[in-house]
Symmetry: C2
Subunit: 303 residues, 2 copies
């Protein structure tokens, strides 16, 4: 399972139906949060995500992307959390987290582990890695690539039977890359198992202008979640505020050859009816959706 | 009009249907906010209160009572607010507000006026005053009394006609405290206008143990909004955490002779069904209600 739950999909100005940015991802039981706008803890309660995840990844230190942290860690502490919580983010993380901690009288029941990251950093996990790439916003900012580990190759049962291998433990042995014997004949894994298959890839840009770095990071992604907050008519404002129009996001998606694009950080102008944003993006990249709070997306394997 | 809108009625652990504390009050067009928990700006949008109010009064510097400030002032700034915003609260206000401001990269479009208050302080307004009183919590904390100015006395039209005064401008002149002449006979205001009538009074305790100071502050209030977050069975925990049971709140209301009691800061234990809290309080003080998010209460004149 690779499930993406949008907890907040609005811009810096939240609305009655769009919280500030927060995305919860669960990949085969390992879960994490990307950005944590004000009110994220209640959104998690509403979406029933639980709060036992390991890490929060922050794209940049604008209030709408992290002001949910103080309330969330207070609630985790009230709930008696013991497991450390990692907070990962770009330059100035120490300053912002220490400011957040000084806001509170209470003592946390768990440790906070702070890690400042920059483009090129890789965070290892048991079934995936998170890679950091540079984005183009008006404060230090990064995006994140969630890259699932390679999967075993495809097993060819027809070929296995031809070779006289009976279904059972030998199949598993072959698929895990070991040879087996049928009588005295050695069967090597590559005779019945295809090449390793790539894992799934999800990219989240946070706030950004479209860029070659975003395209490179998103190459072949199964899902690209891209800042796409403005209509083409407001392209000048997108340049000035260092955001993207939905057209620009769609061009990044097309150039990167992704499978699916979801637009985030929807301007309050289009909060209730983002159809115009969608229409413009689909003109360039058909498989586009507009995020909405509590939207849940399952990312399937492509092969 | 004296309208109280409950924007957040939960405790330190918010729930899906109770935001952390925030109360919006509008008295004859002058509006203000008491406490400002995380998510208050969106609650204001949902309740359509507008954001053009002058002051935020904070009862104490626990996160659940003020973590909505950074997002709210950011939104006010995006909206181009020019009018200064006053933030009023107890000891350590400078530290907390400067921490909040250092959380943000942006520059505000308006000035913040910070005022530290202590018990006995009085904030003057055009149609009311706000008086500060001491509460009993585990960090420096205060409560607030909103006291409407005295109203003009009751005009007795029957008596006025007996005295030969014709309805019209003379009535207004008399009611505003000036004499009038009917022929050569002087009529003094107190012949047709009763004594000045007291204004309405609303008291908000914030988080507190029940106390003689709360009772004194609440004497004769039209509405007392009191911490009443726990059942009597959890009285020990109320003592330890420096909160009140609903029974204790009801006793304060009864001893102060208030007209109406509304319980606030409802523990997440009773968030969905606070009936047991209500039942216990009503056993002592009948005119009790439990607050809920978006509840709106009009406070009428008593005479």
């Amino acid at each position: 399972m690779l499930r993406v739950i949008f907890l907040g999909t609005g811009g810096a100005l939240p609305t009655v139906n769009r919280n500030p940015p927060a995305i919860f991802i669960n990949i085969k039981g390992e879960s994490m949060l990307f950005d944590c706008g004000e009110g994220t803890q209640q959104q998690m309660m509403r979406a029933k995500t639980g709060m036992a995840f390991r890490s929060i990844f922050i794209t940049h230190w604008h209030g709408d992307h992290f002001l949910g942290i103080p309330g969330l860690i207070q609630t985790m502490s009230f709930q008696g959390r013991k497991k450390p919580l990692e907070i990962i983010g770009p330059k100035h993380i120490d300053r912002f987290i220490s400011d957040i901690l000084s806001l509170c009288y209470y003592r946390l029941s768990f440790d906070l582990k702070i890690r400042e990251v920059k483009a090129g950093d890789i965070i290892e996990r048991s079934n995936h890695v998170i890679k950091v790439f540079e984005t183009d916003h008006n404060v230090p900012s990064v995006g994140y690539i969630l890259q699932e580990h390679e999967r075993l190759g495809k097993f060819d049962p027809g070929r296995a039977i031809e070779l006289g291998i009976r279904p059972g433990p030998l199949y598993s042995r072959l698929q895990s890359g070991k040879s087996v014997f049928v009588g005295e004949k050695e069967i090597k894994p590559d005779e019945v198992v295809g090449p390793k298959r790539r894992g799934r890839k999800v990219v989240y840009t946070g706030d950004t202008r479209p860029s070659a770095k975003v395209i490179k990071a998103s190459r072949g992604a199964d899902l690209l979640i891209h800042d796409g907050m403005l209509l083409g008519a407001l392209a000048d404002w997108a340049v000035e505020s260092k955001h993207s129009t939905s057209i620009e996001a769609a061009n990044d998606a097309k150039d990167a050859g992704v499978k699916k694009l979801i637009l985030m950080h929807i301007s309050s102008r289009y909060s209730d009816d983002p159809t115009p944003l969608l229409r413009e993006a689909k003109g360039i990249f058909e498989n586009t959706e507009i995020s909405r709070d509590f939207m849940t997306v399952e990312v399937p394997y492509q092969d």
